[in-house]
Homo-oligomer: 280 residues x 2
């Protein structure tokens, strides 16, 4: 459902040609769709209809996709492959990849602003929170911090701060947005925010662990690339076992927050376990 | 007023450090502020308070600024200078310039979504129209078309189509947004849209003319750079005199639309003349 809707949006809001091809290429490159799935699952747990959540779920995935396109650029991480396929700038060229990213970022606001299942108040809330989560004090700021921290000694506190911004805030948004469109109470929203924050760190720690223990074939990128990039990671700072224990603490916190939020826990509880033990 | 507000927004919505420095660098690099001035002047012509128009005027200028940062990148126009100063990626580096552009684009939605002088309905309208004007069917799409058309034969119709998207839609938005926050009638909004479209073409034709006849010192970039880039321009397609006549036709159309819109014409009429005869 998410994949179909994403493609429809890109086709509707761009003109056939190179920019559309480049947008579709990265949108169709797949990925786990973790963020939109979390958003839809949270909305469902709060009893919202899928219709209320689908546009913002796609908007969130567009933000994630644009950030991958730009992060892969030669001036940034300089990656040739993403999920086993050529990165956008390798498939097209750098100029096209920059513009396709810009276009997806711009489109992410437009589809929320135009979604007929949301009220104006809901649209404004969702655009505002998503912009905060993805901007200079969120994802983009975290990416900048991350690049500046390469080849430097980083404390655990600094590392967590980077991850809270770079990957945490979008994951947190997926939970908050789902609860919001499900008319969550203030108290529930607070617990879900705590869960979303823990989930962001679980996700990142598992990413770091997979870079040490994972299977390159399954992950779709070489193992040990963090080592090569001189990147700070949880296993480097805490050891592999320490990283796993840290992850387990956040799993407990996420499950605890979920229980206290007082919603149907079935799917979300499973998703926490899945994200903490995923092999890619 | 625009300059002070732009700086305040960037400071408020980013964390001190490299990303903020890079955002401020390009925001403070100046420029004529044509788009926000047109927006404020139109709002004034419709009797709106400056307060109603200032956030969206700054949002629009942020979009314009991000597009310049990305367009200047080596993979795009590869410019070292902008307004006589090092371009963002020359002052910082490419990665920082990409991220600073992304951050400004993201911030442009946020400041409209958070502006307390606008209703939710107004915020949604402005975010939607600005996203349309600057996305894959607007500015970004036009930039892609422009790059694809380099070194090819382009008809006058194709050239105008590129400019309508690449530069025209943001200028058009400045007029529409100003009229909208001034509670324009449907009929007035239609005439103002026609004026905005003509104004976009006037602006572009004058840009092309200045590239032939201008003073490099005044413009802040070398004369004849379009020639070197093998770019299609109005003077190339119509001759210098033909380009001037074409511009004059659009000036007449813009003034005519302005008269029919039935608003205070004083400032806007002068702005049309200024933009058509500007020397930089």
């Amino acid at each position: 459902m998410i994949n179909a809707q994403l493609k429809m949006y890109v086709r509707d809001y761009s003109t056939p040609g190179r920019i559309q091809d480049a947008m579709l290429y990265s949108i169709e490159a797949g990925g786990k769709r973790v963020r939109p799935i979390l958003l839809l699952a949270t909305a469902k747990a709060f009893g919202a209809s899928e219709e209320k959540a689908l546009a913002v779920a796609c908007s969130l995935e567009m933000i994630h996709t644009y950030s991958l396109i730009h992060d892969d650029l030669p001036a940034m991480d300089d990656d040739d492959l993403r999920r086993g396929m050529p990165t956008n700038h390798r498939k097209f060229d750098e100029a096209t990849a920059i513009l396709a990213g810009d276009a997806l970022l711009t489109l992410s606001s437009l589809i929320i602003a135009e979604d007929s299942h949301l009220t104006d108040q809901e649209r404004v809330f969702l655009i505002r929170e998503l912009s905060k989560a993805s901007g200079a004090k969120g994802m983009v700021g975290g990416q900048m911090q991350d690049m500046l921290s390469e080849n430097t000694e980083v404390s655990l506190e600094q590392l967590e701060n980077i991850h809270r911004n770079k990957t945490g805030q979008l994951l947190r948004f997926s939970i908050i947005a789902g609860a919001y469109v499900g008319n969550s109470t203030e108290e529930s929203l607070e617990e879900m925010t705590r869960m979303g924050e823990a989930l962001g760190l679980i996700f990142q720690i598992q990413d770091d662990i997979l870079d040490v223990t994972g299977d390159a074939e399954v992950i779709g990128k070489p193992i040990g690339s963090d080592e090569g990039n001189a990147k700070s990671t949880y296993p480097k700072l805490l050891g592999l076992e320490g990283a796993k224990r840290q992850k387990e603490r956040y799993v407990q916190e996420a499950q605890d927050a979920l229980r206290k939020a007082g919603v149907d826990q079935t799917i979300l509880s499973e998703l926490i376990d899945y994200l903490s033990s995923r092999d890619h």
